[in-house]
Amino acid sequence: MDKGRVLKKEKGRLVAAGLISFFPIFLTIAIFLLLLIKAFPLLSLKSLPDLIFSSAWQPQKGQFGLWPFILGTIWVTATAFILAAPLSILTALYISDYASVRLKKWLAPVLDLLAGLPSVIYGMWGTLLIVPLVGKFLAPLFGTYSSGYSILTAGIVLAVMILPTIVNVSVEVLSAVPAELKEAALSLGATRFEVVRYVVLKKSLSGVAAACVLGLSRAFGETIAVLMVVGNVPVAPVSLFSPAYPLPALLANNYGEMLSIPGYESALNLAAIILLLIVIIFSLVARLYLARLSRRRDR
């Protein structure tokens, strides 16, 4: 082939690849804009704080208070986070600083598999085991009644789902602590616990926190598994044992069959935007922070 044609082809490919590379940017903007346009009819009728902080959800009467759903999302996610964070940080510490090479080899595929299991499987597991556990055992233990379909149930299922994400990212952060630092502490007579507490965690606490936030952002958007165990009652929850109705579940149950109730579609699109914003803020903060950490390490 002559040189001119090779270079011309080369240029064409450069342009094509460059154009496709803008697709992620284009897609993000398109998702935002489309949802915003679709939510607009309702926003022009009622003020945003009205919609967000009102607890009245009666689509037939034209009342679209999203507060019970937002609160439900926060309750479920917070429960999952409180359950998952300590467990996954301890597991990550064990893997990075205590485990033998052989154990690490065994744990890695286990965590991969946990991360790869579909959410409907977790949901089914939740209905089979955690719902009875909470309804028949935990609720009576605390002297209350619960059907088992509750915030606590969803929290437990979600906690298991975000565990692998937090563990994997944390292990990465923890393993990046220089061995020289640990050896220096050990040579001064520190126990391994002291090394972990005063050296490893001191060096990587913020990274581990970012890993947790990343897990948190996954938990916010989880749909099917939560939907199957959370009860789906559009009332602001009062305790761990009461049912809730998080935003993703609201979308999954009602989208696609929005009937002809005016404003309903807009309300659901508004719910989608709120969910999108919460998730993006959390995941972006964590990602940017982790990226900065790894850049600092490279230097």
Binding site: A17, P24, I224
Partner: protein, 294 residues
């Protein structure tokens, strides 16, 4: 006053206790995590074995299937495979040019590459239910019905950030010297990307693709409004399609115990498929990387 020796002794004892307690907590959490996974897998398989018959795998739902009569979920198995393979192929066609552009045409720390990676991270964070909503709105705009095509495109969007970020990570590990050697022989950027970088990163690319495939196979929220559901095997892009996650979801809600049993069996099939892909990923990752230049 206590002697110096006893003070040292008691302090040492306390430090030892702290170490033991800490070790106990670490071990307890690792054991708990492993226990949870085994409970999940064991309880699903244990529940599903009574319902897992050959007719489940080789038959489509017959008349009265949802009342507990005969039939299987071949429609959902085939549908899931169609939709996830198609989606992965589409995602691959977008993700490959992106990672090639990021890693061979742009400078390592250029502003543009950082921006594109940032937006991929944003997309990575978007929940699949939001993709489902977006896909549904697009579908209405194009006057499309819930179909294999719409579901495929939506899952492709879900897979795109996972796939591109994973491939980006592996391609980034290709040594610069290799590229430079190729350039010094007079190869163009495209030739270098195609014959050196992609070849070198192939094991990583294949495992990334398999990870994305597994994600697509198991994702239910994004196809909830876009793929529809059908009792027949889908043969055209414009027909609705059944998927395994939704088959499990719908059958589990049934009041008939026989149908619920089938939900368990479907879950076993899905779990085994994911397990197979996960093991294949590990196996291929190890096997293919033998001939890599380190």
């Amino acid at each position: 006053m206590r002697s110096h020796q006893t003070v040292v002794d008691s302090r040492l004892r306390r430090r030892r206790t702290a170490e033991t307690v800490f070790r106990f907590f670490l071990l307890a959490s690792v054991i708990l995590v492993s226990l949870i996974l085994s409970i999940i897998v064991v309880s699903i398989l244990w529940k599903s074995l009574p319902a897992l018959k050959l007719s489940m795998i080789f038959k489509t739902p017959g008349t009265g299937y949802y009342l507990g009569k005969r039939g299987g979920i071949l429609n959902a198995i085939v549908g899931s495979i169609e939709i996830s393979f198609g989606a992965t192929l589409i995602a691959l066609m977008i993700a490959l040019p992106i990672v090639i552009y990021l890693n061979t045409y742009l400078k390592k720390k250029s502003f543009l590459s950082e921006i594109i990676r940032l937006f991929l991270d944003v997309l990575w964070g978007i929940p699949s239910i939001v993709y489902g909503v977006f896909g549904f709105l697009l579908m209405l705009m194009c006057h499309l019905r819930a179909s294999l095509l719409a579901g495929m495109l939506t899952i492709a969007l879900v897979e795109l950030p996972i796939l591109s970020r994973a491939m980006d990570e592996t391609i980034r590990l290709v040594p610069n010297e290799l590229k430079e050697a190729s350039y010094s022989l007079g190869a163009t950027r495209w030739q270098t990307a195609r014959h050196v970088v992609l070849r070198q990163a192939l094991p990583g690319l294949i495992t990334s693709t398999l990870i994305a495939l597994g994600r697509g196979l198991g994702d239910g929220a994004s196809v909830l409004f876009t793929a529809g559901y059908t009792d027949r095997i889908t043969t055209s892009l414009l027909q609705p399609v059944a998927t395994l996650p939704l088959a499990i979801f719908f059958q589990l809600n049934s009041p008939f115990p026989e149908v619920q049993q089938r939900a368990f069996a479907s879950a076993a099939i899905l779990t085994l498929l994911i397990l197979f892909i996960s093991l294949l990923t590990r196996f291929l990752g190890r096997k293919l990387s033998r001939h890599r230049i380190k």
